[in-house]
Every structure is written in structure tokens, then in C-alpha cells.
Amino acid sequence: MSQGVLQAIFEYQTAICELTGMEVSNASGYDGTTVAADACFVAKHATGRSKIVVTEATNPQVRQVVKTYAPGFGLEVVEVPHDGGTTDPDRVREAAADAAAVIFQQPNFFGCLEPAPDLAAAANDAEAMPIAHVDLVSLGVLEAPGVYGCAMAIGEGQSAGNAMCYGGPHYGFLAARSEYIRRMPGRIVGETVDAAGERGYVLTLQTREQHIRREKATSNITTNQTLLALAGLVHLSLLGPQGLRELGETCMALAGYAKEQLRAAGLEPVFPEKATFKEFAVRTGRSARDAISAARAKGISPGYPLGRDYAGLDDALLVAVTEQRTINEIDRLVEALAA
């Protein structure tokens, strides 16, 4: 009755595995924040440890959701501060002692490229599971977490194929190395054969799930985000590997242009030494909220005030530039932000 959607999810799982370099993906989680909590649950049971390390440069909403779930899971959450916009692997190594997992974001919330392979190695040294929170559209140009030693890769899928829609519904992806397959939360589609020997697809490994396993389940998730994940698959299928790479390059080119033009107009990058992908932080020379109000009066919504989540960054604005923007629009942004 549902071979069409089951095959589509199988194809989605394959795409997520290809992008992240992982061996198994579930059929989707609610969004990019809840998959982080799911990953903590996997890590707790896989390692028998009860501490989660998360970098401060990880999206604040992801950190908040992990902290909300943690008491129920019996987990303690420790944050590693950033050091000039990225995370110091030595501080991660120190914090990761006795930890179940280390969660970091690549690119991080400031848009900066973390030394991701070193962070993963630091976690692995402490036998904590490295978990990378990644941006799907960056994975045509940035290395796959599976290649640099991560145990799991998670993230928000909205930017690949779904409307912003004031925050949802979107989908979160969660992928892991195959050794964790029986601890994965949520639905997984598997390939099999029918009574006539023809290929077909089923929901598999359901003894992990709540309707069979009840209080011993790996998660309570039932309704997921299939329709949104399907949209993600369609988008990725249209892009293909070359399109995804170009998409990443276009984001980088436009964001690089915006950064340079803003700098020329007197708005210095907050972390000038760091490589970035499609987002970057700039000093506005005044309260970022004032800068936003002034720009909005000129018809531009220029970015996110980092002071909302980070002490000492009240003048900092996080700017995002994607392939949806034009050079002309960026020039208007610069004009609107120049004091």
C-alpha cells in the first residue's frame, strides 16, 4: 500500500548517508534541534556514560533543546566555550573525559569553519562519540563527517528543499555508523524481497520502536517528517553532486563578497582570521539591535543579533547570504548597515 513512500525514504536515507559519509540514516526526526537530543540518547546507551559535551559555538536552540531533554535522560550537559570564533580541540579533549558524546556544529553558529577533524579526534581520544551537526547544503564543498571520524551526523534539513514557513514543519536528519543501527531512534526503511522474489521495502528493525518495545524503546517518536524529507530528496535529486557543489560555491562567493564589502564600509568581521561558509559575524559599531532597526527602515532584514545568546557580542550581527541573494541586494545591505 505504501511502496512508493517506502522506496522514497530508502532513497532519502541513501542520500543522507552519501552526504554525511555515514552508513545508516533514519527516516527523519522533527527538526535540527530534536535530532541532537535523540543523538544524546543513543550516545548514553552506546557508551554507558552520562555526560554530554556540546560546544558553545553550536546553535543556541540546539543547546537549549539538549538541556531540556537531559534531566529525563539522566544526562549532564557541559559546554566548551569558543576561542575566537572556533573551538579549541584541546579544551574538547579535556571536557570529553568520561563523556558519552561531543556535539559540535560545522560550520558553527558564527558561520566559522571549525577544525572539525581535530574536534572529532579529540572526542575519539576520550572514547566519547563525536557528533557533527552539519548543514546539508555545505556538504558539496565541506568534508563529510564520516570521513573525519564522527560516530554520528545530524542536522536541520530545511535549507535543502523546504520553505522557511516561520520555523516549520521541517525535518531533522540523523545518520550514524552501522554499529549504532539497533540503537537508532525513529523509523528506518529496509530493502527486502516479496513472496515472488521481487524487490520491495519495509519498515525494519521495529523492535527498537515504541509500538513494540514500549518503555524500552530507543525513542517515543511516531509521527515524523516524511513529507518534508521527501521534499528534501526531490531537491537533492534535482541538484545532483555537481549542483550541490556549485550551490556551496555560490553561497561562499556571495557571502565572501558581502564580508568584503561590509569591511570596506567599516564593519569589521568579528572573527577576521576564520574561514566561513555562508554566514559570518560583523561588528556594527553600535548595538546590533539598533543596526537591525535602522536597516529594516530601509527595507532590509540584515541578520541576527548575537548578543541575544553570547555575552560581549552586543554589537555583533550574524549575516547569512545564500544563492537566493543577488549582488545588487548585497550592495543594498551594505548601504543599509553603513552608519
Binding site: M1, Q3, G4, V5, Q7, F10, E18, S25, Y30, T34, T68, G72, G74, P115, P117, L139, G140, A144, V147, E156, A163, C165, Y166, G168, I181, G190, T192, V193, D194, E198, G200, L205, R214, E215, A217, N220, I221, T223, Q225, T226, L227, L228, V234, L238, L239, G240, P241, Q242, G243, E246, L247, T250, L254, G256, Y257, A275, T276, R296, Y304, T326
Partner: protein
Amino acid sequence: MKLIYEKSQAGRRGLAVPKPELPVPEVPTELARKEPPRLPELAEPEVLRHFTELSTRNFGIDTGFYPLGSCTMKYNPRINERVVGLPGFARLHPLVDDDAAQGALELEWELQEILREVTGLDAISLQPAAGSQGELTGLMLFRAYFADRGEDEQRRKIVIPDTAHGTNPASVTMAGYELTPVKTDPRGNIDVEDLRGKVDEHTAGLMLTNPSTLGLFDENIEEIERIFHGAGALMYYDGANLNAVCGISRPGDMGFDVVHINLHKTFSQPHGGGGPGGGPIAVRESLEPFLPVPVVARDGATFRLDYDRPKSIGKVRAFSGPFGVFVRSYAFMRAYGPGLREMSEVAVLNANYLLARLKDAYDLSFDRLCMHEFVLSARTLKREHGVSALDVAKRLMDYGFHPPTIYFPLIVPEALMVEPTESEAKETLDAFAEAMLAIVREAAESPELVKEAPHDRPVRRLDEVRAVKTPVVRYGFEAHEAPHGAGDRQLEAQKGA
């Protein structure tokens, strides 16, 4: 049917990306991608045809009758898709300032008001992404409430009847609680005597679906309320079956302190593939301070997201919730208006009509008026003809119907759980009843016909054991294709050209 990866041709693509004449900054070598992901390479019409063909290999609510018990597969009005696609909704960034999102916030606030009325409770969080997340959030509120009163250490147990959805016990574990199961009595209600001995000062609360997963309204709900509140415990209402009672009875009036509403079920949302959902929760005033942030607040004529809530449990999802789900459900509710009661009445009527037509041909554990769904049993068919609930379900496919939910609830052997919803006309219900009756005759006359069903679906019965023993959960490029690299070389050649 081929997988999209098997249709892939190196170098082909379906989408052109804008390429501004700007330098592309270098990615540090150690962070740069070495091997491209093997995404499909197809032209746009090929992608379109692939997914169109996949859509024909599904049975959805638009294909036919879909009485999947507990899932409330009702019709999804097309106007809702038009509304949610309006650019002012679809293209609204979730982090814009509140004054740039007044329309969206007003919609959320009005949805909250409607949900307060439907549930009979005081305050709403729209944040949970689905019913099961609503459950978990509700239990987190229990913990916060008791912690605030210094009773969190003492109250560790949650009581759940044996008929409950599996999500309930799973949520209990995720919230760090312990499970206390309670039995069902011969009329299909919670066994109140069993309950009495299990509720004490260590009990945090109850999780109950009412009507239950048997499709029965618990006749002792007032007594149950006295037992829990008398012990200082709280009551959680699993709103999975709210479609039975809208405008008729309210969980808040029954005494429940926290309720989740499955927007995707009761208030329509295309969720046949598995999602998306929406699981807002409604709470009594005493639990309101602990709700997740943000909550939508109103100051006179303007609306805002309120994050300044010091006792909040935090966040369970990004932003304010699955907004697109809210838009569809709000449109659905407004189309009904005060007539929402009629929706539930027709859902209950349809279920009772089908039950009356089928109850003599199948076994029925609890012979009562049902609510929006009912649970039959195929135990006699199984005993006399070796035909199981699974066989009945598969044979229904041959008759052009989606099967009901089977083997749930667990306390009914060979269970067939049927939920017709209010969307269906009498002729559809009759056709389904005729098919169910025909299958009973077939089971006696030619059981193999039923046991080997389905006969005309895209696939026959699938080998689920093989799928578990040797899990294949992604396409095996290496096993299926010419050596990887041929395509890459072609790509390189193209780039060079």
C-alpha cells in the same frame, strides 16, 4: 521499479544554480570535500516522472477509504494547501522581529484560543512537533511542577493502562519516570479496583487516552479523577482520540491537567507518509509557568513571542513550533466554526454504523456503543480457518481498501482497529462492510485465497525477517553499478570542456 540512483547518468542535472562572477573563497584543504556525494544525476522531467511514479505506488486518503485505527486519516481540504503556500506564510523567516510577523503571531494566538476552548484548559504551548513530543513535554511539566513543590524526588511513578499507545510508556522512560501499569476491566474501562492499590504519594500522575484505544469512553473518569487528585497526583490526557469528542466533552472538564492535541489527526494534515504532525499541549493554570518558551502573548492589539518565563522547562523544538501545520489546522477549524461538534458526531456515527454491520461476523471483546473507532477481533477466523488479522488486512487491499490497524491494542487478540472518520459517505462504509463480510465467507470457503493475499498490489507479501537479519538500509552503489569513478571521469571531462 528502479531506484532513482539506478536511473542516474553522470553529468546530467535538473537544476541550474546561479553563478555570480565572483571569486570563490578557498576551503582549507583539511576541511574540503574530497569525494563528491553520489547523489542522483537526472534531468528535471526525469526527476518529476520518478516521483510521480512513486506516488502511484501508494494508497493514500485521496486514493480511497483509509480506516487506519488511531491515525484519524481524514480528508485534507485542498484549500489548506493554498493558504499555507501564501508567500507571507511560506517565506516568513522564523527569526524576524515580532513586529514583522504580526499576521503569523495572530494566527498562532487565535489557534491557542481555539485549543483552550476545545480542551477546556487555561494555557497552550504550540511548540511540540507531534503527539509523542507533546507527551514528553507534558511529563517534563509534571516534573517541573513537582520539583517546584519539592516533591520531584518523591513522586517517581506514572500510571498507564494496558490499552495505551506505545508512545506513552516510551515517553515515561524518556522523561525519567517509572511505569506503573494498570489493567482494563470487563467493560473496557480502567480497572478502578486495580488502580486504587497503585496510586499513592509516590505517584506523579496518570496518562490516559479517553476514549481509549478500544474506542470506548471510560465510564469511571470522575472516580479516576478523584483517586489521582486525591493523592496529589496529576492527570495527562493523550489527545490521539480527540476526534471523538470535540464540542461534546472536554478533557479539562474531566479533570485532566495536561492535554496534547494531535493537530495532524483531529484537525487535518497530510500525514499519510508518516508526518508532519503538530502536538500542542494545553495545561491548567497551575502548570502554566513551566511551559516551553516561547509562548505567544497578546498586548492589546499586538502579539509577541514571550521568552521571559523564568520557570520554563526550556525548549523542546526550534522556534515557536511547526507553523505550517498551524496554518492548515487553523483553516480547517475556521471552516467548521461552531459546527466542530458535528465533525465529532459524524465520526462517532460512522464508526457505530460500521460496528453494527460487522459485529456479528467478527468477535467483539467489549459490546458497547463505540466512539470514533472500534476494535474487532479475528480470533474465531484464526481458530476455525487459520485466517489471521494480518490475512484479513492483506485481503482488504485486494478489495481496494487500506487495512485497519492490526494487533493493537495488545489486550485484544487478532485485533482489527477500524476508524472511518467523518469524511466518509455511507456508500463507502457499506462497500467496506461488504468486503469485510466477504472475507469472512472466503475464510471458510477458500482460506488460501485470503492467506496469500494481496494478489494485485505492486508487491506481494514482503520478507520482513530478512530485512531485520541482514539490514539493507541504503542503496549499494558498489554492488549494483559500474566501478565508481567512471562517472567522475566523465564529470571531469565535462568540466574541462
